[in-house]
Amino acid sequence: MRFTLNGVATDVAAHPMKRLLDVLREECGLTGTKEGCGEGECGACTVLVDGVTVCSCIVPFGQAQDADVVTIEGLGNAHGLQQAFMDEVGAQCGICTPGMVVAASVLNEDPSLEEIRVGLAGNLCRCTGYAAIYRAILSSARAGKA
């Protein structure tokens, strides 16, 4: 089945009902996307499909046909958000981090704290208490403007 993965045309043979999450991790070897709850609640498995966030643990692979899929790997290793998460210590165990960064990557360029809260409402973190995550996103937006 054909789709675009992190900007590259890709063809993967897998069961159409396999979870997109498992195809990304197993068939495509992209293990940056994590599984937390496996029921759509925690957002650890967040990826972009056609530019919007989805929980890849509840998306059948067949629904990614012809779609444009972007994972945490697709943001590259030097994305401003990634640096900001490190600088502000926005990660502890790190399971939620890839999903947080992907969700934050589609916020507007200069989000308010409230917009960050709403935009990340589908991403749970059981370690940081969120403050450092919000700080990281705010500082990344500031750095982007500077």
């Binding site: 979870r19 029921e39 629904q63 046909q65």
Partner: protein, 271 residues
């Protein structure tokens, strides 16, 4: 995923006509945004083995106004509704409801058709549709029928929809009066605490409540009392017609109290 993949099979339809032919020839469970279906599959609690992917049916991904009726295509997502000027203008209580569904990931994928067909009494769009006297449009191969939303459910997660039918749209006639929506309780705790109320205050009152009965219900006696009497009389009527789901006793009492408080707030806030 707890369900064994090797036992499952899915076909992908590329047009509504093709989907309806497939359903005519063999029963299959439709999958729209998959936000309910895949939670079931991940838990291993869905007995279905054969599925029909309808996500690609762009014909159903529409929000339009036709002869003064707002038509929400079955694949309209919560995100689409929140962004729609037509929904904002005609059905602002749906926007309130949609904003409170899950997080952005769920709003991007979850559809109005899925919420209706899934039929959970806790579905947040359902009280909105019941309060505005919406009509569900069902299609099967070569046929179409319209069912009043308030007659769509026949029991707990039971509907009048046949297995060869799809929900293709829901129609909302123009709503006159003030619209009001409240959801109480978090999803995590919804089994014991959630109550959803949608109300319209125009000539009279139209009030629908979710999560307190096997299906979404209209409070018809309360509506009548509000139209002709006082709020206190309406509360007596409400206590008479609301019999929350009978699980743990205190829970039923709690739900009744919350419903009363919400209806009071609806009436005072829309005065």
């Amino acid at each position: 995923m707890k369900t064994a993949l090797s036992t499952l099979e899915m076909r992908r339809a590329t047009s509504v006509a093709e989907a309806l032919e497939i359903l005519r020839d063999e029963p299959r469970m439709p999958i729209a945004g998959a936000t309910d279906v895949y939670v079931g599959l991940n838990f291993g609690t869905l007995p279905e083995l054969r599925y029909l992917d309808i996500w690609a049916l762009d014909e159903l991904r529409t929000i339009t106004v036709n002869e003064d009726v707002l038509v929400l295509g079955a694949l309209a997502t919560y995100t689409m509704m929140v962004a729609s000027a037509l929904v904002q203008e005609r059905l602002p209580m749906m926007i309130e409801a949609a904003r409170q569904v899950g997080g952005p990931q769920i709003q991007n994928r979850g559809t109005i058709g899925g919420n209706i067909a899934n039929g959970s009494p806790a579905g947040d769009s359902l009280p909105v549709l019941a309060a505005c006297d919406a009509v569900v449009v069902l299609q099967s191969a070569g046929a179409e029928r319209r069912v009043k939303f308030t007659e769509f459910y026949t029991g707990y997660r039971k509907t009048v929809m046949r297995r060869d039918e799809l929900v293709v749209a829901v129609e909302v006639p123009r709503v006159s009066g003030r619209q009001w929506f409240r959801k109480v309780g978090t999803r995590a705790a919804q089994a014991i605490s959630k109550v959803v109320v949608a109300g319209v205050r125009g000539e009279g009152a139209r009030i629908a409540v979710g999560s307190i009965a096997p299906t979404v219900i209209r409070l018809t006696a309360t509506e009548r009392a509000l139209a002709t009497g006082s709020l206190d009389e309406a509360m007596v009527a409400l206590r008479g017609e609301v019999n929350p789901i009978d699980d743990i006793r205190s829970t039923a009492d709690y739900r009744k109290r919350v419903t009363e408080n919400l209806v009071r707030r609806f009436w005072t806030e829309t005065a």
